[in-house]
């Protein structure tokens, strides 16, 4: 950081893909892993790493717990009266 001499005009090199053998790579691959989007070879290395690394195993568990907790959030964004108004509009549209 701070020593970037690349001229502004050139596109930056794409960042190196996360390394499944390294913990800081695993935390970037965890969503692709859960989505089934890793290719077979990377997935095998990811799973081998997890089997040997408590920190990453816990991290994956925490991501799963986060997703499960999000699934229990009921977001109620329906202002009072909105639903009644829409049902009245629906009734009018269907009766027309």
């Amino acid at each position: 950081m701070g020593s970037d001499t690349t001229p502004m005009a050139t596109a930056p090199d794409p960042p190196a893909p996360p390394d499944p053998d390294s913990c800081d790579g695993v935390v970037e691959l965890v969503t692709e892993y859960l989505e089934g989007a890793l290719d077979v070879a990377v997935r095998a290395r990811f799973e081998a790493h997890l089997a040997a690394c408590d920190g990453c195993d816990i991290y994956l568990e925490q991501m799963r717990a986060t997703i499960a907790a999000a699934g229990r959030v009921g977001i109620d964004d329906l202002a009072p009266g909105t639903l009644d108004g829409l049902i009245a509009a629906y009734r009018a549209a269907r009766d027309a």
Binding site: D24, V30, M63, A65, T66, R72, I75, D77, L78, L86
Partner: protein
């Protein structure tokens, strides 16, 4: 330019039944779909319009558009994808008046989205050290009673707060996937984004929400 519909799309039996109910005048079915989609539609609208009142208007216009279009709906996409396309059109028209005439795919481009690592780099061993990139400060296992704590009402409110703090593109993707339980294909269709971009936004969102929960649980101490 809206993304084309998937030519191979086949509606599910549930979707066919839903549309039939709505055409029959089933008010309960209509109320249920409004309750299910109103929140996600507001979040979609907020990508385009400046304030909550304008977003409410966009969503209201969307529902009226749904009522007008119901008999002509051709099931070339799921019902809720179709509703999202109507909302996107309404929001873009509205955004145009507010000078935010930007296609949805650009609003949801991860290149313009705040990225950053999933976990603070300080928590990993620095480059040059033996075991560089491995945990220096690993996460601590959340005990089963902590997991129960995650389901408690106050924690649900906390997750809502974290969702609100996300960049709008991350927020809508995580809301649809994890709060509303949509599958990846449907989120891509409704938001007109590629599977890869969907995953990037989802990853950033989930990583931030997890980090928020970890901070909260650490501050709260053992449950």
């Amino acid at each position: 330019m809206p993304a084309p519909y998937d030519p191979a799309f086949q509606p599910t039996p549930d979707d066919v039944a839903l549309v039939a109910s709505l055409r029959r005048g089933d008010e309960q079915a209509f109320a249920a779909i409004v309750e299910q989609l109103n929140g996600p539609l507001l979040r979609l609208a907020r990508l385009y319009v400046a304030n909550g009142a304008a977003a409410e208007e966009v969503v209201q216009e969307t529902w009226l558009g749904v009522l007008r279009g119901l008999d002509g709906f051709e099931a070339r996409a799921s019902f809720r994808t179709w509703v999202f396309r109507i909302a996107t059109n309404r929001a873009m028209t509205r955004g145009r008046r507010e000078r935010r005439d930007i296609p949805l795919s650009a609003l949801l481009d991860p290149a313009d989205d705040p990225g950053g690592p999933a976990v603070d780099p300080e928590r990993f061993l620095a480059p040059g050290q033996e075991w560089a990139g491995h945990w220096a400060v690993p996460p601590e296992r959340w005990a089963p009673d902590v997991e129960a704590h995650l389901l408690a009402k106050e924690t649900r409110a906390l997750i809502e707060t974290y969702l609100e703090e996300l960049a709008p593109a991350q927020r809508i993707v995580m809301t649809l996937r994890d709060v509303e339980g949509w599958d990846a294909d449907e989120v891509c269709a409704a938001l007109e984004i590629t599977p890869g971009n969907q995953r990037v936004l989802l990853h950033r969102a989930r990583s931030r929400v997890r980090a928020g929960l970890e901070r909260h649980l650490a501050a709260a101490g053992p449950a």
